[in-house]
Amino acid sequence: MTALATLPPAQFKSELKPIWCPGCGDYGVVQAIYRALSAIGRPPHEIAFISGIGCSSRIPGYTTAYGFNTVHGRALPIAQGLKLANPDLLVLVAGGDGDGFSIGGGHVPHAIRRNLDLTYIVMDNQVYGLTKGQLSPTSPKGLKTVTSAYGSLESPINPLLQVLSCGAGFVAQSTPADMPGLAAVIEEAIRYPGFSFVNVQSPCVTFGEEDQQVKAHKGRMQSLASKGHDPADYLKALELATHYGVELYTGVFYRNPNPPATYDAQVRERQAELQKTAVPRERILEMFQKG
């Protein structure tokens, strides 16, 4: 691992120009990611950014890290495989609310309980923006879209509550309306040794509701630190998470004060243990020959 504390945020910005709609929240998110990576101090070649499909899943291409824009909902399995194959890589995963909590929804609890050292950043805009504004798993009940002309009849998934209840060791939320705060929680999530989750309320400027836009966030957001929340308090974190969709809390909901061993660390430990009694390669053929 190389420590380069002086790489400026611009070093993480690729030559590729983002094609998100002007006014999209994701422009602020990618800037916050550049800042967080600069603060972490790892060079781009030691970082891999894996994403699914959707507007926000374009993010890896806008960074100078290794990137893989995979298939819909499958960013987490691919990221886990990558981390196991090369544990020294800093692996970030990105996607939207549809990618993470609908199409890839089945992977989230298992990635959490497996606890590889990954940071999962979900850009939650409560709508499928890339495909022209259909209902997504976090769309509020009653939302009128092209697929719900009379208003959605479904209750939304609460991503914060879901990942907390699955046992994620680090859970935070922010918005591009608070860039320094967003960069800080992404940095903290990366530094957490284990699966970390950051829900970013990143508005869709084209299909999103007016009260979900960045300007509205500036008036609504409340930092958890200013409310005196202790991120080590799991039960309080659960209670605060129930306000998802009503209040816009920013900051760290939960940080496990005693992070358990990660899956990748346990794999390495077991490999080292088994290595002690492993039959040398050259003797394997001999064993078969002897029957």
Partner: protein, 173 residues
């Protein structure tokens, strides 16, 4: 608009100049981002105006940077970009595909007002006389910039009348 970890009561002239340079730099970089977004989304007129603002903010930045180096040479900076956000920079959600030049100018006007308010609000906290003089000068300059943007606004073509936009040609008489 936000600052983190800046104590205006103890701000030195060097730090104040560095802060002013960073504020102009952030605005320059943001205007560039918005210009590139609008170029990508086929909104060239507003993009041209934002490109003009890139040059304007760079001139302000380099003037302040020159003053800083004349007074303090290469003494290391203790304030960073991470300490500021959206002080003079237009906000990300100001940009819209197909925005008019007038809308771009209005976004710029809001940014100049934000910058003026930042210095006006910081001034009562500042104790150092040299920093007070600098912040007063910068606050007044933001008023000058607002007058310049207003002149541009007065000259800019009006918003297109939506009643005449995108109307279908009559298919039969």
């Amino acid at each position: 608009m936000a600052t983190q970890g800046i104590n205006f009561q103890n701000l030195s002239l060097k730090d104040a100049l560095d802060l002013a340079v960073l504020i102009e730099e952030e605005a320059r970089d943001r205007y560039l981002e918005l210009a590139e977004q609008l170029e990508t989304h086929h909104t060239p007129e507003a993009a041209v105006f934002f490109r003009k603002m890139v040059r304007v903010e760079e001139i302000h930045r380099s003037q302040l940077d020159k003053r800083r180096h004349e007074l303090f040479g290469d003494m290391p900076m203790t304030v960073t970009r991470a300490m500021i956000f959206d002080i003079e920079a237009p906000e990300y959600d100001e940009a819209r595909a197909d925005m008019s030049v007038q809308a771009a100018l209005q976004a710029s006007m809001r940014s100049e007002k934000k910058a003026h308010d930042f210095f006006a609000r910081a001034l009562p906290e500042v104790r150092d006389e040299a920093v007070k003089a600098l912040f007063s000068e910068l606050r007044d300059e933001e008023l000058e910039h607002q007058r310049w943007v207003q002149l541009e606004l007065d000259r800019a073509p009006g918003e297109p009348n939506p009643a005449f936009d995108d109307s279908d040609e009559p298919v039969a008489l």
